[in-house]
Amino acid sequence: MTHDPLLKVHNLAVSYRLDRGILVGRGRSVDAVKQVSFEIAAGQGFGLVGESGSGKTTVGRAILCLASAADGSIVFDGREITQFGHHVPLGYRRDVQVVFQDPRSSLNPRRTVFDILGQIVQRHFGSSKQQTAVQVSHLLDKVGLASYHAHRYPGELSGGQRQRVAIARALATKPRLLVCDEPVSALDVSTQSQILNLLTDLRRDLNLAYLFISHDLAVVRQVVDFVAVMRRGRIVEAGPSEALYTNPTDPYTKMLLSSVPDSDPRRREERRALRMSLRAATALP
């Protein structure tokens, strides 16, 4: 890579407090993420894969300034972001956006789609009422929704439509990096491919960089150029995605790959035997 990367995570550690003192004091804590390092170039797709509890979501939250780093650095476009504290600059909020897993809880049920999108447009671009309305219908168009959807509440939309609204919300600030935390896991298989296609198109059209977090390697493969596999807070294997998928070296990566359902029932028995042996090989003490 000749240019500086858009995002550079170096030796990141994040810990969670298990308990706290009565009034003051720190209590015990546990490391959710340890020594995690990776880079994402502008317009690049980067996948972070692992089981629940592997710390992949925590990495995403640290980048979004929703969790604070205990150690290490996160540099976005030349700026150190672990030192922002409580006051995250609006410029950073504009550049880095998120799409969460479950659009049912990530959209405020009491506000219409127009309110959800409009307030962000106004906040970041100070648009007039008329401009906001234009922008909102433009955003809806970009994610494949019609302008009449603007006056719906999230409860009135289907799962796929809600996730489109969540993507529109992320695009409202014109970001450069999109953190996608399990964006299709809560959706029907047939809707999953619609959303994945949308994300692929948006990346091409808007030159977005993705941090794509998922437990499903098959889903990640369709959208990213680089993949890192996480287990128990650490990265166990990383590399260009096709190389990692076709020739995994770590047994844990192999085990994850063997768990992805295959739609050919004829290979069932041999896959199952492979899974069993890999499971035994990677079992934790």
């Binding site: 809880s105 768990s259 050919d264």
Partner: protein, 648 residues
Amino acid sequence: MTDVAVQVAEPSADSSMARDSRKGLRWRLLGQPLTVICFAGIAVLIGVALFAPVLAPFDPNFADIAHRLKGPSSTHWLGTDVLGRDSLSRLLYGARTAVVTSFEAVGLAIIVGIPFGLLIGYFGGWWDRLAMRAMDILQSIPSLIFALAVIAVLGRGANQIAIAVAIVFAIILIRITRGLALRERELLYVDAARVSGLASSRILFREILPNIVGPLIVETAIMLGSAIMIVTMLSFLGLGLNADTPDWGSMLDDARQYQAMQPFMALPPGLAIMFAVLLFNFAGDSLRDALMGTQRSQALRRRKTTRSTRPLTHFGGNNGTTRTDAEVLNVKDLCVAFPYGKKGSMEILSGVEFSLRRGEVVGLVGESGSGKSMTGLATLGLVPTPGIIKRGEIRLGDQNLIAMSDAELNKVRGSEIAMIFQDSVAGLSPVHTIGQQLAEPLQVHQGLSKQDAAKRAVELLSLVGIPDAARRIHDYPHQFSGGMAQRAMIAMALSCGPKVLLADEPTTALDVTIQAQVLDLLGDLTLKFDMAVLLITHDMGVVAETCDRVLVMYAGEIVEEGSAIDVLTRPQHPYSRALLAATPRNEARVGHLPTVPGTVPPPWDWPTGCRFSPRCPHAREKCLAAPIPLKNGVRCIRADELEFAHDP
């Protein structure tokens, strides 16, 4: 069917239902006569307070010494007090004091308590801890004594009383608001708002507040009632207002002093206090019922079952299919309908037929809204009201489940036929250990002793692959991970050795690795228990990994059935093919993934002909003419013309 077609103009199923539920709040409030009376009463009380000078026949402080301590008369309807002042006029002006003081107190409490509670709940940290400890100390003082202390500092008067009451209420509101804000803070929409760069004040008041305002409204309604009580109590004790301000508390105090001479005096203020407090309490209660009503009635509905009252015997003898010994469950012509519109009904399952054999896993696959979960529920006789099973036959061995009473069905459910669901943690009771929950049905259904049941519970738990089962049996569900909870649910379903297991999306909420483990386990147990499993899923990959046979479902109909290998490698129905193509597979990037455009339409939008035709790229005019029969395992009249080769 015609009146259904007229209403197709509705934009979507979801939207009309959501609108109904919002309209529902107002309707539920107005539908209860007691509620209407309460709100009317409150309106009258406020009206009296506003127009007391117009309504009162006398000046409340005009003393007619000549007519002191009189009972009701034509001039003084409610009699006079010790100074000969008109009781009715004092009562009306007293309403004004009560309403103004209590509204002032609650208003102040809202202005201070809700924002402060939101702030400490949302930001947390040492601010929160400090504030909470301070409030713990304040709340340890009885509120009446606390109010007395405030009055001692501030002096007497209506405003002072309001402030004293407001402080007590503000503390309560801070606690409630903080608790609600703490819960909301964990939800993703708040995280999303933070990432969007919205100002904290906006997040607090525009995002969080609207979501917690319901319980707060209920609380403040009840507080208004308590405020009236505390204000009258204080003035009854002679600590509140100046002597010439008419109020119900001091009227009651006067009545107490002169009750030997004029016992009637206590009646008007006493009743006024009682009714005012009752009005606000009932109003609060009915608001609470109306706000929570949706959730509660839905939860109830889910458990109730409705079946056609007429037993369907005419299917009994002459079914054409040959039944083998291995066949344990046979479903024929199952139709489920829900009322729709004024008198009509819509079918959401039409003529569903399938059979399950011992030792076999059958996949029932389709998108959301295809009717696959309803098929599972109907098989157990658990159609949610107001739905009914219109027609059909469900044979389990020699018994027809449709003709059974609820009591008979209950015996079958859990012992011969069992079901597991997607959200396994929700299916487990949080206050009982896994062991207790496993052992209880064994004691009830199989009559095992307590020790034997506990021993069997350990066996079952290790059977589903939970390590160290003898120790984990004492754990509570929250100590189990998602995959382990699903295993425990399977253990529970298997505890009575069922012949049939219905599994509704058992792995959808799990990681792929855990999913693979649970599916492998399910395959093993099917053989070990020699049972029949119906695996309901939206994922063709899951079908391919686990199932022997497949039923593909679309819009309440089975559109294709066959062996897993046939259907997954040579799908004949365009829907099966589209669904299979859209399943993300572990293969190199393809640019654009194939999709099934659109979604399953709501039942009232289903076409008369082929129900998939609006989304089918191969649809022709002849597809729309009439319902398509299931022929050679496919519900498509062009199946012979269309040759689909699929290479997974």
